[in-house]
Symmetry: C2
Subunit: 500 residues, 2 copies
């Protein structure tokens, strides 16, 4: 540790404190801000983001980084230097006019998308996608990439990831997934789900979800749960992590699994070492690893038999009339029902990943230049038919459904499925390390799992990048086999299917 | 308007946007922030305040100001230049080490005060006051003053004000106030107030208060009402103004008049010209003028017969059982009951100002050097006896009661009474201009008053400084006579006293 390193960290922390203010302003915008406050809020967000960017990419930061590289550093300090230098170099390579053009185009494209989607009007939105793809290509050229431009985009969310690796992994996943979905479709088992659209008072839904999150070990004195149109988790500090959800009286599963999912993110954010707050050593590895935490809790735990062994009686107690004719087994089958559908955010644990594969393949082809924007709807619909056996009757429920492309967030989608793959690999590791884990979960004891995740993943911050972290924690590289095995085991049993 | 002026305004707006983030972080800290979030929040606040200060006092701002002074400017632009240059010059005169020492000492002093007050331990707190007085004297020398160091402190809250002027005005106020309080004390009339400590459900208190604020013209789509330990009003933009209050089931008057008071502040903040957002032309004149708006609504309107002519039936409808044996006249007398008490924040409309006069006189003597910190309790108690006929049994309810001195906020207290004086002068002006005003109020029509205030005060921003604004709006300089006449009229009638 030396003077340059200290200076580098001080600037990084300052930037992180500005980002905390930005996060609070965004949280407030989605939760409590009065309706008319939006215009001023946009200006405030732009100003603060600009200040943070200028500070992080300043010559002073550059000098501190170069100086720190000549100092004796311990292991954690080397992690901080590595990641700060990496982000700094990337950020400095992007010309300011390009940053501005991208922000402005994205902001207008979102407006266009908001009207185009309900109007089912792909033609109006298409030129905006084309413009954003071009701007992202310029960006990729500016920051550089190993093999193909899409690598550069991916690395914004998954530092160190390679498109080729992910494509290979997803390729291995696709066949078994399509096969599994098809066999489930052909199965004579159709779980009843009628009771999941009965009326569940929102106050009771809230109480139950909060109870579950607290059992998971989410520290309610270092966090909150509020309501917003789209659920999210955001962080002001390791001691101030905020979850949101949305409630519908007739969709209790939405808020329940939503809160478990967001609390999974929240446990990651509450699990960093406070000593490293505001530095890479106290920051999430990647979006994929973040998503592994939320999905591990939501799906591998939250939709497991063990979990409901403990929680089902409490659920029945909270909703006695709604659940009076429902057995634990029926409930378990209902929350795990697999059925192809058009909308990604409503998809089940199995089909969800086919929605992602489709998007990843399309994005990659767009950036390779082998797919033109005008062909998007046709390609989308053809793949939906091939993967899920469904064809969207209109673009509103097809290619226009997500906001991501309007934001120019190409490279984001694959992190969702990466999260599922990492989650299955981590879960294999933790069940091997803790043979009694499922019994503990069945007794409602979720803290041992949180502690394991904290010790082996959360506390490490960015010590390892995603591929090294998986190797470090599980002894194996990223692969689809844990996830495929998990799905075949779980859904094979549920739908009475045999797998070799 | 020219390039330098534009640059100056752009920087001023940027600073104002950072301040908006600071305001949101402070609001959140008092309303929704989880308990453990405080440490990180303090660091974030310090970082953002530091950035705003550095930006505002930058050489770039100095150059823009000097350049703007050579450009052709219209009237509004000249106001902006005048006020920005004034604040810039003051801020640049304060050495950074002094800013830091003051912030750190104040922050520690608040901690000491938080323990000293309940422990009744003036001796431990005294050296902190002494240190803060010294630091503020240094500050006064650094920024400069016309006649005495206290001028410099006063001007932080009331730009352009003079200690001598205020002392003279307060001097004229003191005799009539002491006399009025004494005559009320001797009066045989003692209003019943028993019903004001019955149980009023908080939800109903909230509904009633919100209804009153909306009738006043507070735009609920451009603002909010939340709960915090101490009521306040804060502003993120002219379209996002937030009020807070606190509720006690057995103290309905506290939240009701609290909300009317804060909504008075809020109407001022919602009343600026959005075009001038983030510049002096869209900013409050001073704390005294701000307080004139809250107190005009709280006291001259909210505690008037006309107001309750309309609202009393609604209050009875909201609280039928609590109010079943209470007449409108009894209610009016109860909410206007005058009785000397030890605690400023609980004082009534008349005695409140004697609490302020006492503090102003003490502060002025401290900064003149004619009063030593160790003599504070004795002087405090003697003046309480002289002005209100009461002596605090302990310093907790005497000299230790306010947080202001622990913050080093000397010069703040007089703005409360200035607010009362301005309010009475403005009220005389508006009743002269709108002879039907009281009849409108009695019909629950409060918007015409809001419009008059908006047109004559709010929309002007900092066009005039406080003394000029009063002259402009009322045709007269600051004086205590409107306020004295108002008190004698109102309380003379209520307590059957004759005034010459």
């Amino acid at each position: 540790m030396g003077a340059h390193y200290d200076r580098m960290i001080a600037i990084r922390r300052e930037v992180s404190e500005i980002h905390a203010a930005v996060s609070l302003m965004e949280w407030d915008q989605e939760t409590y801000m009065p309706r008319k406050g939006g215009d001023a809020r946009s200006r405030q967000l732009a100003t603060l983001s600009g200040i943070a960017h200028a500070r992080f990419t300043s010559d002073e930061m550059g000098d501190a980084i170069h100086g720190a590289a000549t100092e004796r550093l311990n292991e954690t300090e080397r992690v901080n230097l590595r990641e700060i230098a990496w982000s700094f170099d990337r950020a400095r390579r992007v010309p300011t006019p390009l940053v501005k053009a991208f922000a402005e185009t994205g902001s207008k494209a979102v407006e266009v998308w908001r009207e185009a989607r309900p109007a089912n009007d792909f033609a109006t939105f298409a030129p905006w996608i084309a413009r954003l793809v071009d701007l992202r290509k310029e960006y990729a050229e500016a920051v550089g990439y190993a093999h193909e431009p899409y690598d550069a985009l991916l690395e914004d969310y998954e530092p160190g990831a390679s498109t080729e690796d992910i494509a290979r992994t997803f390729e291995q996943l696709r066949g078994p997934l399509v096969d599994l979905v098809q066999r489930i479709q052909e199965s004579w088992i159709v779980p009843r789900t009628d009771f999941l659209s009965r009326t569940f008072p929102i106050d009771d839904q809230r109480r139950f979800a909060v109870m579950a999150a607290e059992r998971m070990g989410f520290d309610a004195e270092a966090g909150r749960l509020d309501v917003s149109p789209h659920p999210f988790c955001t962080t002001m500090s390791v001691h101030d992590v905020r979850l949101t959800t949305r409630y519908s009286e007739t969709m209790p599963a939405q808020s329940l699994f939503g809160v478990i999912h967001e609390a999974g993110h929240g446990l990651y954010e509450q699990g960093f070492d406070p000593e490293h707050e505001g530095t890479p050593a106290g920051t999430a590895v990647s979006l994929g690893i973040h998503e592994s935490q939320s999905r591990l809790w939501e799906n591998l735990i939250g939709r497991s038999r063990a979990f409901w062994r403990f929680f089902f009686p409490q659920f029945v107690q909270t909703f006695p009339s709604q659940m009076q004719d429902v057995s634990e087994e029926e409930f378990y089958a209902a929350i795990n029902r697999v059925a192809p559908s058009l909308i990604r955010v409503e998809a089940d644990e199995v089909t969800y990943n086919l929605h992602i594969l489709l998007r990843f393949e399309i994005e990659r082809d767009l950036f390779k230049g082998t797919l033109s924007v005008n062909d998007l709807p046709a390609v989308w619909n053809a793949r939906m038919r091939a993967y899920l056996g469904l064809e969207p009757p209109c673009d509103r429920d097809g290619v226009l459904q997500d906001i991501h492309w309007a934001h120019g967030s190409f490279g984001y989608f694959p992190t969702y499925t990466l999260g599922n793959l990492y989650a299955a690999q981590f879960f294999d590791a933790v069940t091997a390390a803790m043979p009694g884990l499922l019994d503990q979960i069945a007794r409602g004891e979720l803290l041992p799992l949180r502690e394991w995740l904290r010790e082996h993943i959360h506390r490490l911050g960015m010590t390892f990048r995603a591929h090294d972290l998986v190797q470090h924690v599980t002894g194996q590289a990223l692969s689809s086999s844990s996830f495929i095995a998990y799905l075949q085991r779980k859904f094979g049993e549920l739908y009475r299917l045999n797998f070799p």
